[in-house]
């Protein structure tokens, strides 16, 4: 009973938040509603008994990703409303509407798969975290390590892309050179 109520409540909230995200013209509103939507999605995960996933969702998505977006917003002109000119709004609406309808129609049909056997069955006895840990570090170890490397690469990439004076290594310069060194913007002014 509670489950049904919770499901519908969170479903309504999530959809409302995400709708705001895609419709609003104010960039800050979009950011805020996106963050809220993320939180409500983690509520779903908790409802589904995937506690670890729900926690990870809050920490990674709402925390890290939203923070990244917030920092990114500082670069852009966020006070003014977003200028957008859409060629054919009706077409887009119709397109998504029809696809939504059809996919829902597909999913209304009862799911076949009664004979599917679970590869990695859920053990109710352990908690969800322990269960995931067991599978993650045994069967999914290689993807786990690869994902770690990928995250490292992404981090370094992000730094290089956004950083200034990335071709110079400050630790290898002497005091005198650090003082006399010109910044990027000064070099650009010289060229002009």
């Amino acid at each position: 009973m509670f489950e049904v109520v919770a499901f519908y409540l969170f479903a309504f909230l999530t959809i409302a938040m995400f709708t705001v995200t895609v419709i609003t013209k104010n960039a800050l509103y979009a950011l805020s509603s996106l963050a809220a939507g993320m939180i409500f999605i983690s509520a779903f995960f908790f409802l589904l008994g995937a506690e670890f996933l729900g926690a990870v969702q809050i920490v990674v998505y709402t925390g890290a990703v939203m923070a990244l977006y917030a920092f990114g917003m500082m670069f852009f002109d966020s006070i003014n409303d977003v200028q957008e000119s859409v060629a054919n709004p009706r077409l887009t609406f119709m397109l998504t509407g029809i696809v939504a309808l059809l996919v829902v129609a597909i999913f209304v049909a009862p799911i076949i798969g009664a004979n599917a056997t679970a590869h990695y069955p859920i053990h109710e006895a352990y908690g969800n975290t322990q269960d995931i840990g067991l599978v993650l570090f045994t069967k999914y170890l290689v993807p786990f390590e690869v994902a770690a490397v990928m995250l490292l690469v992404a981090m370094i990439g992000g730094i290089i892309l956004a950083g200034k004076k990335m071709d110079i290594s400050i630790t290898q310069l002497s005091e005198h050179e650090i003082d006399n060194h010109k910044t990027d913007t000064e070099i650009e002014k010289d060229i002009k």
Partner: protein
């Protein structure tokens, strides 16, 4: 003997190919000499074959190559030299050789000298295929070949412009009184070719009927089995084959092309329109005599048509002043005679007249060529006159030929023409006999009218521009054998009959000797009467028709060739032209072209519209992705097995 066959057949082809190499070069004398020499070689081979066939009474039959061998169809390239074909071969090669040598002199100022000999030798080759073939398909190949070469030769001076039509008898291209033989050489060439093609459709239908019912096109196979067919079918076959013959031999209603073909150079008229191509129709009837003897009603129709044409052509020649047209009409008339003979069953008589006619008519044309060459291509006989003292040899030869044409003893025409009249009388076709008898008188009259106007009397040509002179001696030397043959050919009638009746049916009529000599006397009388009238009236008046006569309707009708060319133009050419124009503008341009262009435009348009997909705009690409997803989902819903 077979090597002689191949030499006779292919020597003209070698000559033609040799001349073609120089087709676009300026005149080279050796081209004419080489082609004439090769034709002389062919002539010698043909004479050898004649001796062989006559003396040993065997025929030479070769199957050179397989042509179409599929399933039940077996049509080879085969050639047969029997008594009939060897006569044709000798006639063709003699006349061709003399015409070639004459052309060296006649065409000596023409810049397309080499091309002329290429076409001429190609024509002889096609004619040899026609007469030597042993099946209907080979005959048809030669048939079409001579049609093509005739087109090339009639339209030899294709760069001449069309003459406008006019009501004035002196200027209209369809009038026999004007200096034009036809609207233009290319017009005449096209008319000849197209008319022949239309008639060839009849011949093809006849051939199809033969093949369908008998299963072979070989002469021996066809003639052996023709009697087994249904009578109506044989009538149809004979009628259709004769339609083809009508086209080639210019019988009514396919007759207008022959007079218009005088646009070509005169040696062409001598070879093609006197001796060889127009006689191909007669040859066909003679060769297929076994078909025609089974259906005498068709033969009788052929004879009646022949007599009608003979009389009609002779009447048109009475008033004409275009010299070549007069001779062309006389050819048409004599072809009518040949068809009368063939139609009444006297096939060897037709063949005999074919041979003698070839000799005197070709030399008549060659002489006319000499006259034209001497008078700067003048063609109106009233603008000549008194040329006998300037060109005595030509005058003599043409007079001999005209006498032979009139049928006076002992020249060749007497033997062949009188035989035809005797056949007509003996088969109780008295009306045909009467028609032919009157025509004989008319023939004599207009032939000598021509001779008088051209060679005797006052000199009517422009003395400042025209200096008539006799032609080269070698040209006269080339014409002489033909003239001699025109004199003596009739004396070999007995040997001819003896040889040819081995394959052709012999004459089966019985005329008592009293009637026989009366007929000869009567015929000779009217011929002499015609000549006398022509000569005496000319000497008295200098002209034949008074001014009052010239304004009469019958004169105008004759001068306009019975308005047949006008009829063809109004009923066939113009409506067909309109139909073609309509088909081109409406059907072809609007429908067919529009569809093809429309497809191309559609593809182009689609491509150009499709470039919008590749705009590089991320938003648009995402939209296209969305549309793709939509399509996939639709497919899943439609074809996935959702319960």
């Amino acid at each position: 003997m077979e090597s002689y066959l191949y030499i006779a057949l292919f020597a003209p082809l070698v000559g033609s190919l040799f001349a073609t190499l120089f087709g676009n070069s300026p005149k080279k004398l050796f081209v004419g000499v080489v082609t004439s020499a090769l034709l002389a070689v062919s002539l010698i081979a043909s004479l050898n074959l004649l001796m062989h066939v006559y003396l040993t009474e065997t025929i030479v039959h070769v199957r050179m190559l397989d042509w179409i061998v599929i399933g039940n169809v077996d049509i080879p390239f085969g050639f047969v030299v029997d008594q009939v074909s060897v006569v044709m071969m000798v006639v063709v090669t003699i006349v061709s050789t003399m015409v070639h040598i004459h052309s060296i002199g006649y065409m000596d100022h023409d810049k397309s000298f080499n091309r002329f000999f290429a076409w001429l030798s190609a024509f002889v080759f096609s004619m040899m295929i026609l007469v030597m073939s042993d099946n209907f398909a080979g005959l048809f190949i030669g048939w079409e070949g001579v049609g093509l070469c005739s087109w090339g030769l009639i339209g030899f001076w294709y760069h001449k412009e069309d003459i406008k039509r006019s009501k004035n008898l002196e200027e209209s291209p369809f009038s026999t009184l004007s200096p034009y033989s036809s609207p233009s050489p290319s017009w005449a060439a096209n008319e000849a070719f197209i008319m022949n093609r239309v008639a060839d459709l009849g011949m093809l239908i006849g051939m199809f009927l033969i093949f369908w019912n008998i299963g072979s096109l070989q002469y021996d196979a066809v003639f052996a089995k023709i009697g087994t067919l249904d009578h109506g079918l044989i009538v149809a076959i004979a009628a259709f084959l004769f339609i083809g013959a009508m086209g080639k031999s210019a019988q009514f209603p396919f007759n207008t092309w022959l007079a218009n073909a005088m646009e070509g150079p005169t040696p062409v008229s001598a070879l093609i329109h006197a001796a060889t191509m127009v006689t191909a129709g007669v040859y066909l009837v003679i060769r297929a005599n076994e078909i025609f003897t089974v259906v005498p009603e068709v033969g009788y129709f052929i004879a009646c048509l022949g007599a009608f044409v003979a009389m009609g052509a002779a009447s048109m020649a009475l008033v004409a002043t275009n010299m070549k047209k007069i001779i062309a009409f006389s050819t048409l008339s004599q072809l009518g005679y040949m068809f009368v003979a063939a139609g009444l069953g006297a096939y060897w008589v037709a063949l005999f007249h074919l041979a003698t006619h070839a000799f005197f008519k070709s030399v008549l044309f060659l002489g006319a060529g000499n006259v034209m060459h001497a008078t700067n291509d003048e063609i109106n006989i009233k603008k000549m006159g008194g040329l006998a003292k300037h060109m005595p040899q030509t005058a003599l030869i043409m007079t001999i030929a005209s006498v032979a044409l009139a049928g006076i003893f002992p020249l060749a025409g007497f033997f062949s023409k009188d035989l035809i009249l005797e056949v007509a009388f003996g088969t109780h076709a008295y009306i045909l006999w009467a028609v032919l008898w009157i025509t004989a008188g008319l023939t004599a009259f207009y032939s000598f009218r021509l001779v008088m106007y051209v060679f005797y009397g006052k000199e009517n040509f422009d003395h400042a521009k025209v200096h008539p002179h006799e032609t080269y001696p070698f040209v006269i030397a080339a014409m002489t054998p033909l003239a001699i043959l025109a004199i003596i050919a009739g004396w070999f009638e007995h040997q001819f009959v003896e040889m040819v009746t081995k394959v052709l049916p012999p004459l089966d009529i019985h005329v008592s000797s009293g009637t026989f000599y009366t007929l000869i006397a009567v015929t000779t009388a009217i011929a002499l009467g015609g000549i006398a009238f022509a000569v005496l009236k000319f000497k008295k008046d200098g002209t034949y028709y008074s001014e009052k006569m010239k304004n009469r309707l019958c004169y105008k009708i004759l001068a306009n060739q019975y308005y047949i060319p006008h009829f063809w133009e109004a009923v066939v050419s113009k409506p067909y032209g309109k139909l073609s124009s309509f088909s081109w503008k409406e059907l072809d341009l609007r429908l067919v072209d529009a569809i093809v262009d429309g497809i191309a435009k559609g593809i182009y348009g689609g491509g150009e519209a499709g470039t919008a997909m590749q705009s590089g705009n991320l938003s648009k690409s995402l939209k296209w992705m969305g549309i793709g997803i939509l399509i996939l989902v639709i497919l899943v819903v439609a074809f996935g097995n959702l319960k």
